[in-house]
């Protein structure tokens, strides 16, 4: 399969806001859910970036907006240099055909009444590839690529005849069949067993390298990110709180929330049972009335009274490509840091 050797920025997200309007009794305006509230990041051709956060932090809204299933409220999304905010009709379909999408639940993703062959030929037909030989050639290539071989064993099966891992590989094959430049993977392994998870992650990694595929990987599970993405950002209450190269963030975390996530993600070890885990008090805030200042301040051990509760922290550069939105890292001050 062709490898496009492009470098530079594929996806550029700038000050993106996705707000949903709340209506009372279906009419009166009752405020906004600020699901994504000023998010900026870039993704280069052939690279992977992970977006980590808890449920309700805005990950899914961000992802849906990148897929243009949602419209941005403010800010911009650029793909290969072109703004895609207002795309409609044919142009929107053309844009979407360049993005593969893997959803969280493989068991719900595949229509049970279709065979693998029908599932994989559908996107081809929709995008004008109607010749049966050409379809078959592409289907065989896609199944081989996700290592579902021999192809003839798989192609006439229905999803329920396949294991969870195999089903998820069909989902990946379907996402790859139009040879997209970007793959959006929403918790692609969270429903799978440990022993299968790594297999699917390795497969995605392989596709990334072989095909120069860019991947936007969304997860709540920090333990799976290391082997996978070059970059990572952490979201809290609709905003990015820290963004860095993978190893920098995991080995040298800065934001108190990143610390909290890391220390709450245990590796298997019997010593875990001997002590309590440190967890910040409370729960993530409402996105309708988020806390003033830093959105994490009500749960933060380090919060500076009069500062963190009043002013939203800017991004501070820690080192190359490592930025954190937290007042503790104001270089003009000398605050205790986590």
């Amino acid at each position: 399969m062709s490898v496009e050797d492009k470098t530079g920025t594929l996806l550029e997200i700038d000050e993106l806001r996705v707000w949903y309007e709340l209506k009372r009794l279906g009419f009166a305006h009752a405020g906004y859910v600020r699901a994504v509230d000023g998010v900026s990041f870039n993704l280069d051709y052939g690279k992977a970036i992970a977006c980590v956060g808890e449920s309700g932090c805005g990950k899914s809204s961000l992802m849906k907006t990148v897929l243009r299933l949602n419209k941005p409220t403010e800010g911009s999304i650029r793909f290969e240099g072109k703004t895609i905010n207002g795309l409609k009709g044919e142009a929107l379909r053309e844009y979407r055909s360049q993005i593969g999408y893997i959803q969280q639940d493989p068991f719900g993703a595949l229509p049970s009444f279709m065979t693998v062959r029908q599932i994989l030929s559908e996107p081809l037909a929709i995008n004008g590839i109607k010749d049966e030989d050409e379809q078959m050639r592409r289907i065989e290539a896609a199944l081989t690529e996700v290592r579902l071989t021999p192809v003839s064993d798989i192609i006439n099966k229905h999803p329920h005849m396949l294991s969870g891992g195999q089903q998820q590989r069909i989902v990946i094959a379907r996402a790859m069949i139009l040879e997209p430049k970007l793959l959006v993977a929403d918790e692609p392994v969270s429903m799978l067993d440990a022993s299968v998870r790594v297999e699917v992650l390795n497969l995605l990694k392989q596709l990334q390298t072989d095909r120069q595929l860019a991947i936007f990987y969304i997860t709540h599970d920090l333990s799976t990110v290391r082997y996978f993405s070059e970059h990572i950002f952490v979201m809290y209450a609709g905003q990015i709180v820290e963004i860095a190269k993978m190893d920098d963030l995991l080995d040298n975390p800065k934001h108190p929330y990143t610390h909290a996530l890391l220390s709450a993600s245990p590796d298997p070890d019997h010593k875990n049972a001997l002590e309590m885990r440190e967890v910040p008090p409370g729960e993530p805030p409402s996105l309708v009335n988020p806390p003033s200042g830093c959105r994490f301040h009500p749960r933060c051990h380090f919060a500076i009274a009069g500062k963190c509760d009043h002013e939203q922290p800017p991004f501070y550069d820690i080192e190359s490509e490592h930025r954190v939105a937290c007042w503790l890292f104001d270089p003009d001050e000398n605050h205790e840091q986590p």
């Binding site: 299968v196 290391r226 890391l262």
Partner: protein, 339 residues
């Protein structure tokens, strides 16, 4: 009183054992034959300890919990074995006796996906109090009083007593489900995937809560999960389940250092670790169907260490006082396996 355990040469002091499961079987009857979901399971749980059953999807974990609590569907082909609770074989009790004396009163359960199984139209306080009213014939007022104290214990604000489940976050609902399981002061709580549906911080919170209750109340847990990392947060003892059978039982310390069974060992190696740079290795292939599981070792087809013996079903080898393993490599005198 001493009782023969499932393993020939091991005899334990009954004082210590709160639960002892011996050769438990639960087979479901289906159109295609019997599904051997629980097929000759042995393990024990000590007082104030946590035994964690680790296994992958469909290996029979929930069926095991249901068999112990006798919460059975109708399509039962086989239900047999011994389940000793504090020395008494409760399999000998009638359904009526079991319901009256054991379920809730001695053993309660937080079912899989409990946070979604609360009754949506009943206030959570009443739901938590209900087992007291039904199973311990307590008056409603004092039951609600106890529910309030239980809320305090599990960290749910008291004004939540009158709320409905949809008004609570996932973490709060799970706390409510735990309060409900604790309210009858059972000796044993079965927890089926108590944190799987929750976010990391909430998971850590719930595990902290379980540790606290174990320490302060002295409850014993049988915790069932596919999540190995989380299991290490509470386990005193680990039982690994594969295709309806327990293939290894071990004390937690030695298990997490190095499991004995090839499956357990490979399972550990497949877990991505955050703190270490070692690359996780998947286990290729799939577990066998429970409809007609192959004869011999059920892990045989995926096992890199298999040898001629493995076509026969391995018995359980007692490696030492705390460790048992169902694998021919641990037969005395065999030393093939190097991993």
């Amino acid at each position: 009183m001493k009782v023969e355990m499932g393993f020939d040469d091991a005899q334990y002091d009954m004082q210590e054992m709160i639960l002892d499961v011996d050769d438990l079987k639960l087979h479901y009857r289906t159109r295609n034959g019997a599904v051997q979901a629980v097929d000759g399971v042995n393990f024990t749980l000590r007082k104030n300890h946590a035994t964690v059953v680790i296994g992958e999807s469909g290996c029979g974990k929930s069926s095991l919990a249901k068999a112990i609590l006798r919460l059975l569907p109708r399509n039962i082909e086989t239900f047999s074995g011994k389940v000793y609770i504090d020395g008494e074989d409760v399999m000998l009790l009638s359904d009526e006796q079991f319901r009256r004396n054991i379920r809730w009163n001695r053993v309660s359960m937080v079912p899989q996906a409990a946070l979604n199984s609360l009754n949506p139209v009943v206030r959570v306080g009443e739901q938590v109090a209900e087992p007291l009213v039904i199973h311990q014939k307590m008056g409603k007022r004092s039951a609600l009083g106890k529910a309030l104290r239980m809320f305090e214990r599990v960290g749910v604000p008291s004004d939540f007593l009158t709320r409905y489940p949809f008004e609570l976050s996932g973490g709060m609902r799970q706390r409510v489900a735990i309060a409900m399981a604790l309210i009858t002061d059972p000796d044993i709580v079965l927890l089926d995937e108590p944190t799987s549906a929750l976010d990391v911080l909430t998971q850590a919170n719930i595990m902290n809560l379980l540790k606290e209750v174990k320490r302060d109340v002295g409850t014993s847990y049988l915790l069932i999960t596919h999540d190995i990392a989380t299991s290490s947060e509470i386990a005193d003892s680990v039982a690994v389940m594969y295709a309806g059978q327990i293939v290894e039982v071990s004390d937690a310390r030695r298990f997490f250092e190095k499991p004995l069974h090839p499956y357990a060992d490979m399972l550990m190696a497949s877990v991505p670790k955050l703190g270490r740079h070692e690359v996780p290795i998947p286990i290729l292939g799939q577990p066998p169907s429970l409809l007609n599981p192959p004869t011999g070792c059920r892990f045989r087809d995926r096992c890199p260490a298999r040898f001629s013996k493995c076509d026969e079903e391995p018995p359980i080898f007692q490696v030492d006082e705390e460790r048992q393993v169902k694998c021919w490599l641990h037969e005395e005198g065999v030393a093939h396996y190097v991993s």
